[in-house]
Amino acid sequence: MTPRTEWRLALRMFAVGFGTCVLIALAGCAHVKPYQRQHLADRIMDPAAVRWEAASERKMLSTREGAMGGVQGMGGGCACN
């Protein structure tokens, strides 16, 4: 098995394992009323609190790494080669 093939196999296993964990977690979902979400609305759980810094981080990482994508969504183009 070549090193390149090993990389690909390891990454595919990671993807399958992570996806399986997510599906198992989602299978145990509860129905939470709006008045029960005070913890989910806390600043340390609020995705909007990090969205602002995520834009600059996305640009910085795009100049160093060959991957893209993530929870924070799409961004614009630049001469970041």
């Binding site: 977690a25 160093r64 060959g66 183009g77």
Partner: protein
């Protein structure tokens, strides 16, 4: 008629049924072991026009400073640096001078939230300008809540159309190029319990046009040649995140991303955040991130043939195989609860430091400071 239209727009924009206004501003610096430095100054203004409409305008200014290239002009060390450079070099003498450029960026978004907030529609426009690159993007987004907000499905589409106009560079004829990007993002957010939330998403980007670095050259077949990447690339990623709140007023967020494209690059990324309240006016966030990627199929450390691999040549470190780590800490100070004037009670100050390093002996420090001010 046009003047009346502008008056109507101005009246609608300044009238506020819901007085939600917020300014967020910050400064971000990036400095690495190669003495490259990027300073970014950002300001964002969120404004509610009427009950269901909201606009956001974000402006950013990047100042990029690159050091002189190492080695004497004409030396092998100087030439080797030019082959991997990301800056224009008009001559060997000019390579001994530092290089600086400014990049301006403007991003506008309009959001419509009808149906008692269960649905959110957004339209966005992005424009950036620097000496050799103009970036443009138009986007549309739609998000809808289900099951009393326990489930949210969001879809985003964007179209990017960029113009690359290289500056004069030694040994390279500068011609203008174009690049187009179509992006699709789908995200499913699910409330798991009163203290937990999970997110699963997919992002795909179809890129066509010029995707090489016009300043970078590669040794191939014993000669220096311009870098040559394929003009089509399909990039896709699958990502997920899990957030959990603990009774000790702390939260943990773990996320993972699997990426692949048709250039042969595959990558896995893991990111973990631990947030902890210290008293009522300090939040400490610890962060660790690990990234692992494989090389592009046409990437080689040394090209024997002038044609490279299938006609493609690259000296781009982003297309090489490597692993990277990032450690960081962030301090946030919410002013709520302090004995201050009402206008300052919602202010939050942030200070962040992160250390990034990879298996190719590259390292960088990231420092960021900013504030959020709702009024």
């Amino acid at each position: 008629m046009r003047r009346h239209a502008w008056v109507v727009v101005l009246v609608l924009w300044t009238s506020t049924a819901h007085a939600e206004e917020r300014i967020t501003a910050g400064a971000h610096t990036f400095s690495d072991t190669e003495d490259n430095r990027v300073e970014t100054y950002t300001v964002e203004w969120l404004h509610s026009m009427q009950r269901e409409w909201r606009t956001t305008v974000r402006a950013a200014l990047d100042r990029v400073v690159l050091p002189p290239l190492p080695g004497l002009p004409g030396s092998q060390e100087n030439v080797d640096a030019i082959t991997a450079a990301s800056r224009p070099v008009a001559s060997a003498e000019l390579s001994k001078q530092g290089y600086a450029k400014l990049r301006q960026e403007l991003n506008g978004q309009v959001e419509w939230t009808p149906d008692a907030g269960r649905m959110r529609t957004t339209g966005s426009a992005y424009y950036s300008h620097e000496g050799d690159y103009i970036g443009r993007q138009l986007g549309l987004g739609l998000a809808h809540d289900f099951r009393e907000g326990n489930t949210n499905l969001a879809v985003g589409l964007s179209h990017g159309f960029d113009t690359i106009a290289p500056e004069p560079h030694e040994g390279v004829v500068a011609t203008e190029h174009e690049r187009f990007t179509e992006d699709l993002t789908c995200v499913w957010t699910q409330t798991v319990s009163q203290r937990a939330r999970a997110t699963l998403g997919f992002e795909g980007a179809w890129v066509h046009g010029f995707q090489s670095n016009p300043y970078r050259r590669v040794y191939a077949g014993g000669e220096l040649r311009s870098e040559r990447h394929p003009e089509r690339r399909f990039r896709r990623s699958l990502f997920g995140q899990y957030d959990h709140y603990f009774a000790s007023r702390a939260s943990v967020s773990v996320s993972g991303r699997w990426y692949s494209d048709d250039w042969g690059v595959q990558a896995g990324t893991f990111d973990a955040h631990l947030n902890q309240y210290v008293g009522d006016h300090l939040i400490v966030r610890y962060r660790y991130r690990h990234h692992l990627q494989s090389a592009a199929s046409f990437q080689r450390d040394l090209y024997e043939s002038a044609d490279g691999v299938d006609g493609y040549l690259t000296a781009d470190y982003k297309l090489d195989d490597f692993a990277s780590d990032l450690f960081g800490v962030k301090l946030s100070v919410p002013f709520a609860g302090f004995d201050l004037a009402t206008w300052a009670s919602g202010v939050v100050l942030d200070v962040k430091f992160e250390r990034y390093f990879d298996s190719k002996s590259f390292a960088a420090n990231v420092f960021e400071t900013g504030f959020t001010w709702p009024f």
